[in-house]
Amino acid sequence: MRFILHIWRQENAHVKGHFETYPIDNISPDCSFLEMLDILNESLINDRIAHPVCFDNDCREGICGMCGLYINGRPHGNDDGITTCQLHMRKFKDGDEIWIEPWRAKAFPVIRDLVVDRSAFDKIIQAGGYISTTTGGVPDANAIPVNKHKADMAMDAAACIGCGACVAACKNASAMLFVGAKVSHLALLPQGKVEAMDRVRSMVAKMDELGFGNCTNTYACEAECPKLIKRQNISRLNRQWIGSLFGRDKK
């Protein structure tokens, strides 16, 4: 297969970026999108055409949440429930023009080319996305009874890999689905319930401070989430926020 790639090139966050066009040939339909970029980079290095294209990646099996490219108007490309590394070239037509952009958000500044700084998500987690517990002996997993339905919902929310596709897809660059998932997976379980009110207030305050947008219920985040996190988590976040207005945990 052959493609015309339009790739966003940007030296660093302080200079203006632009699109560069690279034709690429002899690509197997079974090649993953990131492998296709590897092939491009190999040719850029060998032929000394340009600096290789920088892009984030790690596990390449949809678990780590490192890869994240905005491909032809969709985060992670033209498929549902996948990360960029799980996208294959057979999803495109031979001769297609492919536009590759980094996540666009004030809170995710470009580091170089297609790599963005997603440490804003880490800062939100640091603000309260944890359980304050002193270490000690490992308790028996069955010692605390957990409702099966709630355990399932918590597990679904915990599937969030923090890739940032929700922010990239949202027309307002809102991080509500990410925060909703993180708040939900802790608040639904007995251990996390204890600090639920303080947690939601701290995490939302940090999210606002970092410059993410407001949710206007477009649900592009839900449509593009590679882990299929549901919008019900945003609703739960709102519910928890309202609850926290009427009482806070005492630390």
């Binding site: 407001n214 219920n217 609703s235 309202i242």
Partner: protein, 214 residues
């Protein structure tokens, strides 16, 4: 925007609650308008208008309603500005994600409603306040206005825009107030859509009824 610190979710909750209040008002407004369809020479409708113009509680509510409307607009504009600031540089390729169109149109339908409302006020409310010359018998005035084809069509278009705004508004309200869940979420959305249909059909029935002389 940094002068007043209100958290993003609080702002959205306020917008949702004000939206609910305005939607309830719309239902009562539509119900009162239905009196125009009675063949009593406007006795019921003019009595109602007289009550609305003289009752002190109604006058207080008028101020509350206007305040709610202005706050709803200010908060929405505030949220929209913050949303634009959250993405200083947009994407080159237009978004192709499967999304709810209502949300994308909400700001535009809101602006359209504001413009239509101004015209509506010029026809009726400003006449009542004495700011514009016109017939103070609103029953007669409604009959005069709604029998003119382009005015009747314009009002029907206005109600379609209101329907769009309310339909997404209700679904968004349930989500913002944390009521959307796995069990009842869809039911609440359908109930909201039915409410939007009922209110807008009530308004439209008056215009259609007067135009065709029912």
């Amino acid at each position: 925007m940094g002068i007043v610190k209100i958290h993003s979710i609080s702002k959205k909750i306020l917008v949702a609650l004000l939206g609910v209040f305005l939607s309830i008002f719309l239902f009562f407004h539509a119900a009162a308008n239905m009196c125009i369809l009675r063949h009593d020479g406007g006795v019921w409708y003019n009595d109602f208008c007289d009550f609305m113009g003289t009752n002190y509680l109604v006058k207080v509510m008028e101020v509350v309603l206007l305040g709610s409307f202005i706050c709803h607009i200010i908060l929405t504009v505030w949220l929209t500005i913050e949303n634009k600031m959250a993405r200083p540089q947009g994407y080159h390729k237009p978004q192709r994600s499967k999304t709810h169109t209502g949300s994308k149109l909400q700001v535009w339908t809101g602006i359209l409603i504001l413009a239509c409302l101004f015209c509506h006020f010029m026809d009726f409310y400003f006449v009542k306040l004495g700011l514009v010359d016109g017939n103070l018998n609103f029953y007669d005035q409604a009959h005069e206005k709604f029998q003119i084809t382009h005015i009747a069509v314009a009002y029907l278009v206005f109600f379609v825009v209101v329907w769009f705004h309310m339909r997404h508004g209700f679904a968004a309200m349930f989500q913002t107030l944390g009521l959307y869940n796995y069990k009842y979420g869809r039911v609440l959305e359908v109930l909201g859509a039915i409410y939007a249909w009922v209110v807008c059909l009530m308004f439209a029935s008056v215009v259609i009824g007067v135009y065709f002389g029912f």
